[in-house]
């Protein structure tokens, strides 16, 4: 099983979520993070203009069985894309075990 962590634009979230549902990826968790990267955002506050690379992003954590890996990544790559600096990243890592608390099921079946 794999964990896919995707850091995307907040404004792309709804699209990504809908697209994931299309490919039967119906389970994940997300939260908002601040991303530091290449993109800069212009601000003004009480007469000081400044630009910051600390930009709001949404962080998706999706644990999938190996067979779902590719479609999940493809879907995110496609729908989170704008082509502008700041589209975000996807990180993949291994998960050694998973449990569903409700049933105490282990392994792939706990992800369905």
């Amino acid at each position: 099983m794999k964990k896919i962590e995707a850091i995307i634009r907040k404004s792309k979230f709804d699209e990504v979520k809908d697209a994931l549902h299309q490919v039967q990826v119906n389970f994940f968790s997300y939260w908002d993070v601040t991303g530091v990267g290449n993109e800069k955002e212009g601000h003004v506050y009480r007469g000081v203009t400044y630009s910051t690379s600390d930009i709001q992003r949404r962080y998706l954590s999706i644990v999938v069985s190996d067979s779902f890996l590719e479609r999940t990544i493809d879907t995110i790559l496609k729908t989170a894309y704008t082509g502008n600096v700041g589209d975000g990243k996807i990180f993949v890592s291994d998960i050694s075990e998973t449990y569903r608390i409700r049933t105490a099921e282990k392994g792939e079946s706990s992800l369905k």
């Binding site: 907040k10 404004s11 709804d14 955002e41 212009g42 601000h43 003004v44 506050y45 203009t49």
Partner: protein, 407 residues
């Protein structure tokens, strides 16, 4: 008139002026509370603009347009700027009710309200510059002209139309423009799904929305109480009672009716019910008895719930419910003067109907012309990208709670 009575009257009118002023805080809280966080700065900016520009415009031209003195009943102009009449600071000016300055300021605070109503309805997608231009024209010209027909002594008042404090002249005037604007703008992304399902786009701060409603209720003491145009104890105190009872009844029937329909105690419908009751009583606040006010409030509470559902069904997207509250309840309240209370009667009802219709026609046509022209030139709506990312960052380079952290 004795100086002391004149002084007392004028005090009351100044207090009412302050109370109507603070309604702008109420509207601001209500609007930002019911909309998403990413557009908060934009809404606050619009509201600050409305109150500031509204007052200045009303000083420059609005007051002269709305109270032109002797005129043809349709369009007159008392002159640019504020021209203190000789007796403007004496009891002669307005039967001892207030001075010329008080008169201007009280009316000026009203003027801005009409634009505020629109502001809520177009929130989260309107282009700031276009809204600013619309506000200038609507508050500077349309509102005072409509107002002159009745309160300026124009043809509607001649005819016998009655609108005590502005169910039609303020709330519907704002509400019609809101309707046109919402229609021309189209719904926010996500409000109606492709399959036509109505979505919910919850706001970001319901405590502030609730505070807004309580502040508006207080402000209505001045809005209606000041419309007596003196501190006459019998009239003012009656108006405060009818206003409060209608608000209370509206809230109760609003939440109960929503409970029956949706099986939840919906705070937002409670709030809308209170506002519906307030708008509904406004046209006849001085003509109603206790039972009338309660009935008007109860009906308004139900109407507002149905109205919100209707607007949704028409695929119109009004984030704060301005059309249901201000337009629909405004019409209901105006007609209610012909149905309940001291003026009830068929003839009055017809007058009310005519007034509602003519003001509606004038407002719709002029709002359409202004907004359509803006749509074809500057554009009314922000880009899709801006709408999704939020107007705050794009137009203002600022977010509403930049340093907010969780503990």
């Amino acid at each position: 008139m004795e100086n002391s009575l004149f002084t007392a009257n004028n005090i009351w009118m100044m207090i009412c002026t302050g109370l109507v002023f603070i309604m702008h805080l109420g509207f601001s809280f209500l609007e930002i509370g019911l909309t998403r966080q990413k557009n908060t700065i934009n809404i606050l900016f619009k509201n600050m603009f409305i109150i500031c520009a509204g007052l200045v415009l009303y000083a420059l031209i609005g007051f002269g347009l709305m109270y032109p003195g002797e005129f043809n009943g349709v369009l007159g102009f008392g002159g640019l700027g504020l021209n203190l009449p000789g007796n403007g600071l004496t009891a002669e000016y307005a039967s001892g009710g207030y001075t010329y300055w008080t008169d201007f300021l009280f009316q000026g605070m009203f003027a801005a309200t009409a634009a505020t109503i629109v502001s809520g309805a177009v929130a989260e997608r309107v282009k700031l510059e276009s809204f600013i231009l619309f506000t200038i024209i609507y508050v500077g010209l349309i509102y005072p002209i409509a107002g002159s027909w009745q309160w300026g002594g124009g043809f509607l008042s001649e005819m016998g139309f009655y609108d005590f404090a502005g169910s039609t002249l303020v709330h519907s005037v704002g509400g019609w423009a809101a309707l046109i604007a919402v229609y021309l703008l189209g719904p926010r992304i996500g409000k109606f799904s492709e399959s036509g399902k109505v979505g919910a786009i919850p706001g970001h701060n319901l405590p502030l929305a609730t505070a807004g409603v309580l502040i508006l209720w207080l402000g209505w003491f001045g809005f209606n109480g000041g419309s007596v145009l003196s501190a006459d104890p019998a009239a003012t105190s009656l108006v405060l009672v009818t206003t409060s009872l209608a608000a209370a009844a509206g809230g109760i029937s609003g939440f109960l009716f929503a409970y029956i329909r949706y099986k939840k105690y919906d705070l937002t419908m409670f709030l809308n019910g209170v506002l519906g009751g307030l708008v509904g009583i406004t046209a006849g606040a001085d003509q109603m008895g206790i039972t009338d006010s309660l009935v008007i409030g109860l009906l308004a509470g139900v109407i507002v719930v149905l109205g919100v559902a209707l607007i949704d069904k028409l695929k119109l997207d009004d984030p704060v419910g301005a059309i249901a509250v201000h337009l629909i309840c405004g019409i209901f309240g105006t007609l209610a003067v012909g149905i309940f209370g001291a003026k009830a009667g068929w003839e009055q009802f017809v007058h009310q109907l005519v007034g509602v219709g003519l003001i509606g026609l004038f407002c719709c046509v002029s709002a359409f012309i202004i907004l359509f022209a803006l749509k074809k030139t500057l554009g009314l709506r922000v880009s899709k990208e801006e709408e999704v990312e939020g107007l705050d960052l794009h137009e203002h380079g600022m977010t509403a709670y930049p340093d907010f952290r969780l503990d």
